[in-house]
């Protein structure tokens, strides 16, 4: 099925961003356009998803060239799900940003950059061409660089330098991998690669190429020992920015790993061992880091790392069940991680501070919002029946099936650390009375108008509802992820759809 619908979520973000550029410096119309644009994209993504879900894999041959000659965009259930989730997140964050991002930043291009970033993400999910994937990755990283430095405080710059250096290195390694792959196969179309790579006689060089992609995407998805940039930088930008980063940027790395390592390189034993070791160490590193930090966003940053480990581990197991678990976790993680960073912004608004030792008393002061936050935190921990719980069933089961007890142990440790850390956070920030007479503790939130307060709280609730849906209506998610996992194991429908051999 050839359908232009595929490209709409990308194009609509692009057009929104361009329109926003015409309103440079005018923050009021920008807010409106941004929210409207995000809503439109959300509707388009829903349309796309329902089309894909009800029918076949859709493709769009850009410039009307048949694959593998042109760049093809492919919407299978996986990519359209990712686009849908991204659009939900984008919608929530763009509402949040209208108040959560200061006027100065809004006047200096926050919104266009945000939409460029979202465009890059949607593009990365939908493209069926590996070099085009690189291009979208670059769109993502350059917009994230700019968003990260926007405002230019010293800590922001410190984070940004590290973030940039490592991400550029990742891109270069990724590009090197593409070059090698092209040198071996002479094609860039992912479906075509899926056909040609298995035919290559020199398997060793294929394994080596796979390592390039592993390292490149591994840096992007913050896997041990490539994760350094994340804890060094995610606490520095404004919370709305950190939310998008935390929710989506590392996940696009996971997406890429999943896509490449199911379609083009199927992990062999060596790769599985490597991935297992990485996952275990990632979980430990993230968990340990989060354990010792006292700044809410630093804690969350490390938790991102920790939970990336869960997903990588699932990929290492590489059974349909494991992949279902990874996918479920991915969906859950995007919603929750975005939300916890939005929450951190709200906490900062309410307390003027994100140090868990200083802040406190939120539960007494804002009980209802606190409980929404608690719901999100428990989802993060994986308290049943919330969203984080279900994928772990799959991961455990896959772990047992493959007798990967290291991973199971790490999964338990990681879950436990997360539980402990979030409980401590709750206890410190929400239960404890704030320390008296600290000047840094100012409640800005209460000074906002009702309308502004609503704009901050609604997106958090929106995402919380989405999370709740994922948890309580898990059946729907399970059906989707099982479908995707099946697509990953048997990639021939994808290949046939793209290359048109029916």
């Amino acid at each position: 099925m050839i359908d232009n619908t595929i490209i709409y979520p990308v194009v609509a973000q692009l057009v929104t961003a361009i329109i926003l550029l015409f309103f440079w410096g005018k923050s009021y119309p920008q807010r409106f356009i941004s929210i409207l644009g995000s809503l439109v994209v959300l509707l388009m993504s829903i349309t796309l998803f329902s089309k894909v879900w009800s029918g076949n894999i859709l493709i769009m041959e850009s410039a009307n060239w048949k694959p593998p000659f042109g760049i093809v965009f492919v919407a299978d259930v996986f990519s359209s799900t990712m686009v849908l989730i991204t659009s939900i997140v984008a919608f929530a964050v763009s509402i949040y940003s209208s108040v959560g991002i200061g006027n100065a930043r809004q006047r200096f291009g926050y919104f266009p950059l945000f939409h460029f970033l979202m465009m890059g993400l949607n593009g990365a999910f939908l493209t069926g061409d590996i070099f085009n994937l690189y291009v979208f990755f670059e769109v993502i990283i350059i917009s994230s660089f700019v968003l990260m430095t926007l405002g230019g405080r010293k800590t922001q710059l410190e984070g940004a330098v590290k973030y940039m250096a490592m991400n550029i290195l990742a891109s270069t390694i990724f590009l090197t991998g593409i070059g090698i792959l092209y040198g071996i196969t002479g094609t860039l179309n992912m479906a075509d690669l899926a056909v040609k790579v298995p035919l290559v006689e020199n398997r060793n060089i294929i394994d080596i190429t796979a390592i390039f992609f592993l390292v490149g995407f591994g840096i992007k998805s913050a896997v041990f020992p490539l994760y350094y940039w994340l804890p060094s930088s995610y606490h520095t930008p404004p919370s709305a920015v950190a939310a998008v980063f935390g929710g989506l940027l590392t996940k696009v790395g996971v997406y890429a790993i999943l896509r490449i390592f199911t379609l083009i390189f199927v992990p062999n034993e060596f790769m599985k061992i490597v991935l297992t070791v990485l996952s275990v160490m990632t979980i430990i590193s993230g968990g340990f880091g989060a354990l010792i930090k006292r700044d809410v966003r630093r804690i969350f940053s490390y938790l991102i790392v920790c939970h990336i480990g869960f997903m990588i581990g699932g990929i290492a197991l590489f059974t349909p069940i494991a992949l279902s678990g990874v996918l479920f976790y991915l969906i859950h993680d995007i919603l929750v991680k975005t939300n916890i960073f939005l929450i951190s912004g709200l906490i900062r608004n309410m307390k003027g501070n994100l140090n868990t030792l200083k802040a406190g008393g939120l539960y007494a002061r804002y009980p209802k919002i606190s409980l929404v936050m608690a719901l999100v935190f428990f989802s993060l921990v994986g308290v049943p029946p919330l969203s984080g719980f279900w994928p772990k069933i799959y991961l455990f089961e896959a772990g047992f099936t493959t007798h990967n007890y290291f991973f199971i142990a790490a999964l338990i440790i990681g879950s436990f650390l997360t539980l402990y850390i979030m409980a401590r956070l709750w206890s410190d920030v929400f239960w404890k009375n704030p320390s008296e007479g600290d000047d840094s503790l100012i409640d800005h939130f209460k000074d906002y108008s009702r309308w502004k307060q609503a704009l901050l709280v609604i997106p958090i609730c929106l995402l919380a509802i989405a999370t709740l849906y994922v948890g309580l209506a898990a059946e729907n998610i399970v059906v989707v992820v099982k479908h995707i996992a099946a697509e990953m194991i048997d990639t021939s429908p994808y290949i046939d759809a793209v290359l048109g051999n029916k």
């Binding site: 200061g102 090698i180 279900w390």
Partner: protein
């Protein structure tokens, strides 16, 4: 049935956030919920007693095998009656107990959540559904323990409780998933058919490990017991309800529930008997040193839980029967004691046993309740406790050989100590002379004293008329656990036998102990000397140690130095790639694929390398930039030589612009400092060099392989015919792969915006983030 389970959840969802609108008006009305449920489940008693069971199925997540599968049998019924029955009393009791409390409605919300979860837990047939409710009980317990969250130790206790039970929860989950995976179903009833397979499976031990871990943590078995005394920070109704009568029995429940599937083997028996046995002794011993009433009760609860685990471990019909009965016995008297303690605390403001005495004079009904509960706990004939104790001795005596002696002795000692503890809690505060300071104390609202009294009386009634419950509750429960027919009729009087003798000895020694030993703070202090060996200390130490290791590790990993991070990343890549290269072996040069070299190629290459060297070594920043542009220009020449004019042009233009950019930016910067020492340089040189070698070898391998130009030939053939351009590269850029270019220029646009904003935007200090 689903409604029965979910009602509590719905109520709690309404109450927790919206509580303040109810303002406590409905707190008694809310008690209709447990009462209603109690009556609802009561209606099942006759049928269950007849050996019937009830299954209920509602779809939830069929794809995952997780559905609302409820199964009501004797075991579930016993527990659900306890939960709703005691729940009713606690709900009523809490209303005056927390009257006027700011968050009373929130409290009821949590309590409803807990009750619903507990009901769900015991009714679930699906292990994962069971686990969901299991965790929800932990969460509601967390909120209830931390209910007075302004207090630091409340928070800490809540954390510890959640930490222990939550950690055990994850292990339990692993175990349940493993069971589900091995038996192909998550339904416990369905698992029964796989019981033999599971018990013989290589992973049986692992399953037990996981399940025991969950059960022991939840049911406060040694060495995880210490969260329970801490949990006494919760309001007393909570202690009575969660931390004595119901939640802590969830661990026991799951052992009982899984007994038919997993139980009866040595791997099952020994750990449970040892841990249960040790726990009961340890806790019973500790209970007598407490001076805080709730402390005494907490430890005696742990001991009781130990007894239950012990009994399930033994796994004979007698022991399972004893366990079934003892669950009920203990729930009745312990809840009564807790509720009574709550009243005392509420009215006198203290729970210190050494200060409490003679309260019978001011609150007689409570004294009666206390006395009845204490007697039941002591196992005095004609109390329900007596029957319980009998059954325990019967169970221990029915084991084989030397075991029977040992286990009986253990049970005896435990019972003696527990008797003492029961007296201490139930009798001591009311006996003796009323201190002056408590003379003004008076009886509280009747809803506070009636529940313990009722429980105490029930203990007496069941003791005198055991037929009321033997076939209706206890036998069906035991039957369900053993998955076999058990038709014991509970009797108050068994005649003179060894069991009676043991009971007598217990009573005698315990009473003796009560009469001659007075609880003192000194005793507690003595015991505190051993704290450094206590599991709590060890756990705290290992937590601290973990924290230290985590700090050490994280500081090494994230030391703030970008170059260290980059070095590690490169080393990682080199190791992986190098390993694969070495394993792959066979590196050779295929001369047939190598083209000739012209002198200008070599010269340009030489210059290029020279320029690279200059870039690397020069101490002058400007020279580095000059050298860098030479690198670019030489590459540009290569592009010309090797047929890439477009590339050459672009490379050249961009290099020139980069120079301009650098120049505009750099002129304020100080000169390079020689910041690295020789060692760092050498290491970096080796790392970088090996990466270069690896890349070169890979490139060589790729070049040795075949080449496929299908796509580029298509471009060449169709560039003019179909895309109307003769410069194929440009046609690719604007047509064949125009999308790339589209988004590539977006990258540029973003970069420009970034530059502009980075340099122009100045935040005011008032901008918060």
């Amino acid at each position: 049935m689903l409604i029965a389970v979910l009602a509590g959840l719905i109520i709690s969802i309404l109450f927790i956030p919206l509580g303040k609108y109810f303002k406590g008006r409905l707190s008694v009305t809310i008690a209709l919920l447990p009462i209603g449920l109690f009556l609802y489940f009561l209606s099942f008693v006759p049928q269950i007693a007849d050996g019937k069971t009830f299954s209920f199925h509602y779809d939830w997540i069929p794809s995952l095998g997780v559905n609302f599968d409820f199964y009501l049998d004797g075991l579930a019924l016993l527990f659900v009656m306890l939960i709703t029955g005691i729940g009713s009393l606690v709900f009523l009791y809490a209303s005056p107990y927390l009257k006027g409390h700011k968050y009373l409605d929130r409290f009821y919300g949590y309590l409803s959540l807990f009750m619903a979860s507990m009901v769900g837990l015991v009714l679930s047939d699906n292990v994962l559904l069971l686990f969901i409710f299991w965790e929800l009980t932990s969460i509601s317990s967390f909120f209830l323990i931390g209910f007075n969250n302004e207090q630091a130790d409340s928070r800490k206790s809540a954390m510890i409780a959640l930490g222990i039970t939550g950690g055990g929860g994850f292990l339990l989950m692993a175990g349940l998933v493993l069971m589900g995976y091995l038996s192909g179903t998550y339904s416990i009833q369905a698992m029964l058919t796989s019981a033999a397979m599971l018990k013989g499976h290589a992973l049986y031990g692992l399953i037990l490990f996981f399940v025991f871990a969950g059960a022991f943590t939840k049911s406060a078995q040694f060495p995880f017991h210490f969260w329970l005394p801490g949990a006494m920070k919760a309001p007393t109704p909570v202690s009575a309800y969660l931390h004595s009568a119901t939640m802590v029995k969830a661990g026991v429940y799951i052992l009982a529930r899984l007994f038919p599937v997993l139980g009866g083997t040595d791997y099952w028996t020994y750990p449970l008997v040892i841990v249960g046995g040790f726990t009961m002794l340890y806790a019973a011993f500790h209970s007598i040193f407490r001076t805080d009433l709730k402390g005494v009760l907490a430890y005696s609860t742990i001991a009781a839980l130990g007894i239950l685990v012990f009994l399930i471990g033994i796994g004979t019909k007698e022991s399972l029967l004893a366990a079934s009965a003892f669950v009920l016995v203990h729930a009745l008297y312990k809840a009564a004691l807790f509720l009574m303690t709550g009243v005392i605390d509420h009215e006198t403001g203290t729970r210190d046993i050494t200060r409490l005495a003679g309260l019978r004079k001011v609150m007689m009904p409570l004294a009666i309740a206390g006395l009845l509960a204490a007697l039941s706990s002591a196992g005095l004939p004609s109390t329900f406790g007596f029957i319980g104790k009998d059954l325990i001795y019967e169970a221990t005596l029915h084991t084989q050989g030397i075991w029977s002696m040992v286990l009986t002795a253990l049970a005896l000692i435990t019972n003696v100590l527990l008797l003492y503890a029961g007296f201490l809690a139930g009798i001591k505060p009311f006996s003796g002379k009323l201190p002056e300071e408590y003379s003004h104390v008076h009886l509280p609202h009747w809803l506070m004293w009636a529940p313990p009294l009722l429980l105490g009386i029930l203990g007496l009634v069941f003791g005198c008329f055991p037929f009321l419950i033997d076939n209706s509750l206890v036998n069906p429960a035991a039957r369900a656990i053993a998955n076999a027919r058990i038709d014991a009729s509970l009797k108050l009087w068994h005649g003179f036998n060894i069991i009676l003798l043991l009971s007598g000895i217990t009573l005698f020694l315990g009473t003796l102990l009560y009469l001659f030993r007075k609880p003192t703070a000194k005793g507690m202090a003595e015991l505190a000397r051993f704290d450094r060996f206590s599991p709590q200390t060890i756990f705290a130490k290992s937590a601290l140690w973990t924290q230290q290791v985590a700090t050490w590790y994280s500081n090494i990993m994230l030391n703030g130095y970008l170059r260290v991070y980059l070095r590690r990343i490169i080393v990682f890549a080199v190791l992986l790639l190098g390993y694969k290269l070495i394993v792959g072996g066979h590196i050779y040069i295929d001369w047939s694929k190598v083209s000739s070299v012209d002198i200008y190629d070599v010269v340009v290459l030489g210059i290029l390398i020279g320029a690279i060297v200059l870039t690397v070594v020069t101490p002058s920043r400007l020279t580095a930039i000059v050298a860098m542009s030479v690198v670019g220009y030489c590459i540009c020449l290569f592009f010309v030589f090797y047929s890439a004019p477009d590339l050459a042009i672009t490379q050249f233009t961009i290099d020139t612009l980069t120079v301009v950019l650098f120049v505009l930016v750099l002129f304020r910067l100080p000169p390079f400092l020689n910041l690295a020492n020789k060692r760092a340089k050498t290491i970096d040189g080796i790392v970088a060099g090996s990466f270069g070698i690896v890349i070169s070898l890979i490139a060589l391998q790729v070049l040795n392989g075949p080449v496929n130009h299908e796509v580029s030939e298509f471009y060449g053939d169709n560039a003019y015919k179909l895309a109307k351009g003769k410069n194929v590269v440009n046609v690719i850029l604007v047509d064949f792969r125009g999308i790339d270019t589209m988004f590539e220029i977006v990258v540029l646009g973003i970069a420009a915006i970034g530059v502009y904003s980075l340099l122009k935007l100045r935040l005011k200090p008032s901008e918060k983030e």
